[in-house]
Amino acid sequence: MVDYDIEKYQFLISLGNTRLSVAFHFSKTYIFFKPYIISRTEDNCTECISLQEILFEDWLKLGNETIDSYAEYNLLSITISEKLLLYNHFIIHAVAFYWHGKAWLITAPPSTGKSTQYKNLKDIYPNEISIINGDRPVLEVKEDGCIMVHPSPWNGKEGWKGAEAAPLGGIICLKQGKENKIQPLPVKDSSSRIYASIFQSFQDENIIKKVASMSTAIIKKYPIWLLTNLGDYASSKLLYKTIADWESQNK
């Protein structure tokens, strides 16, 4: 049993083009969401999203010792992603950066070098690159199939944020390796990688299926590459050249 405040703190927040009512268990959780809060909502809000206790249990299983507002903020990315799916929005584990009018995602399992790639790009091309979100951007699948990448409260340990929403350009999946190599990722490989990057709690069959349809929306329309890399500047230059070539060929 988790020991949290009895009173719930309810707010209306805006993520992407969607407004959601969220009830926080901890009084300080709202601080993480401050830029996205529109207003405080009425008491007894029946439609409010709040975190299920089962996710707190996961947090403790990961080796964390306390349940607090930081845990709630982190875990809410799962619950909120599931709610957003009803509106064709979702949260993905990726660094989202802005380059030449589009958003580009770098995705990989934790500690595989996403932040390093962004840092390198920012060092090499400081005037061309800016960050949209450092860890969990919100993606919106529009009616015409185009995808918008929005900022979110989950900016990662570096707190990277700043640039506004932009249309998706493409996705770079990372893999650590002994050489730098980039290649288009075949559907058989991208399907599982993209699916696994989308936040969900795996409790509801309908949501599990909805995540598949969102993954399909990405894969059918956007280029996805696999960058096997050493994490050095040469690998980031290779990434840059690949998206630049793609853009010039697909204008």
Partner: protein, 98 residues
């Protein structure tokens, strides 16, 4: 012997690529995600409807115009792998037990 799909495993398709996804209640009993070879999801679908091994082989053979021996060879590999990973469960037939 018949085979049962484990309750809580969901078959999805991402850009026509079949994936098996384990829902939270069965985590620890099988991997969270498995990529199936394209086209083999038909086996999963038929198994989940409770159709037995021999009927599945006959049906696929009819649909694909391939000999039953060939289908059986492939199906056995499919079954072995998914049983090993925990997605499928072997069920003793009552007839064969008696």
């Amino acid at each position: 012997m018949t085979y049962k799909t484990r309750e809580g495993v969901v078959l999805v398709k991402v850009a026509d690529q079949p994936l098996l996804i384990a829902s939270r209640i069965i985590w620890g009993k099988c991997p969270q995600l498995k990529r199936l070879p394209k086209g083999s999801d038909i086996y999963w679908t038929l198994l989940s409807k409770g159709i037995d091994e021999n009927n599945i082989i006959q049906l696929i053979s009819l649909l694909t115009h391939k000999p039953q021996e060939l289908i059986k060879e492939y199906f056995d590999i499919f079954l072995d792998q998914l049983i090993k990973e925990g997605y499928l469960i072997k069920v003793e037939n009552q007839n064969s037990a008696s």
